[in-house]
């Protein structure tokens, strides 16, 4: 793996996590204020933009590596998103949820290694 592919993998991960957090915030804003509000549209646009970048980076990576090789990084997104949702969105992160996320991450890494 070259330095460029590592950077691309990390960039795909960061844009994916950022996109998910922004989309969650966008959808939360619809509960109180509905769909026709500038804040929702701006957040949705921003989230879709980040997810699109992540999508095409992943597609490019899939042309070079096996899906199984890229899996561990998808696994990492579980624990990263859980922690970031707790920090940035103030979601409740219980010990049980942390253990669950860690087990899923470890499992995905094991599945991809074999």
């Amino acid at each position: 793996m070259t330095l460029l592919s590592l950077v691309l993998i990390l960039l795909a991960l960061v844009t994916f996590v950022g996109g998910q957090l922004i989309l969650k915030r966008a959808m939360e804003s619809t509960v109180m204020h509905g769909l026709r509000q500038p804040r929702f549209i701006a957040l949705l646009g921003c989230g879709i933009f980040l997810m699109t970048i992540s999508f095409f980076l992943t597609l490019g990576l899939l042309q070079r590596f096996d899906l199984s090789y890229l899996y561990p990084f998808q696994g990492l997104s579980v624990i990263i998103i859980s922690v970031m949702a707790a920090v940035m969105l103030k979601e409740k992160l219980t010990l049980q949820l942390i253990i669950g996320a860690l087990l899923i991450t470890a499992g995905i890494v094991l599945v991809s290694l074999s």
Binding site: L4, L8, Q20, L21, L23, K24, A26, M27, E28, T30, V31, M51, F55, F56, L57, T58, L59, G60, L61, L62, Q63, R64, L67, Y71, Q74, G75, S77, V78, I81, S82, A85, A86, L89, E91, K92, L93, T94, Q96, L97, I99, G100, A101, L102, L103, I104, T105, A106, G107, I108, V109, L110, V111, S112, L113, S114
Partner: protein, 134 residues
């Protein structure tokens, strides 16, 4: 978690729909990306060269459907619960290959699948308790 609609609008049903669509799209995208793989081509690192494959376009349709149900899920379920549960798709692929295609699964991979299932159960348990009370 707030009051949730039932039937097709049930967020848990939508989460399942989203996961199934991601599962199908991943297989389509991998197949399509491999068919069109040509690292020598300019811009290939961006992945846009994959658009030459109809399978990639079909995969994109499944991505869009899963994305819409996922947005709906986000409206009702916290990310700390919904996202880990959505990763069930990561064990559906090897299990699907084993079940439908008869591919072998190594002992290590079985351990990984077991860990993911335990992790999903641990994550889903507080949800199940919450649902019972509603």
């Amino acid at each position: 978690m707030r009051d949730r609609p039932s039937g097709f609008a049930n967020p848990w049903l939508q989460l399942t729909l989203s996961v199934v669509c991601v599962f199908v799209s991943e297989l389509l995208l991998k197949r399509g990306a491999s068919d069109t793989a040509n690292p020598a081509q300019a811009w290939s690192w961006t992945g846009v060269t994959g658009l030459a494959s109809p399978l990639v376009w079909l995969g994109i349709i499944f991505v869009i459907i899963s994305f819409i149900s996922w947005l709906y899920v986000l409206r009702y379920i916290p990310l700390t619960i919904a996202f880990p549960l959505s990763r069930v798709v990561d064990i559906l692929v090897p299990l699907g290959c084993w079940f439908f295609l008869g591919e072998a699964i190594s002992a290590r991979r079985w351990w990984g699948i077991a860990l993911v299932i335990i992790g999903l159960a641990v994550t889903a348990k507080p949800v199940a308790r919450l649902e019972e009370r509603l």
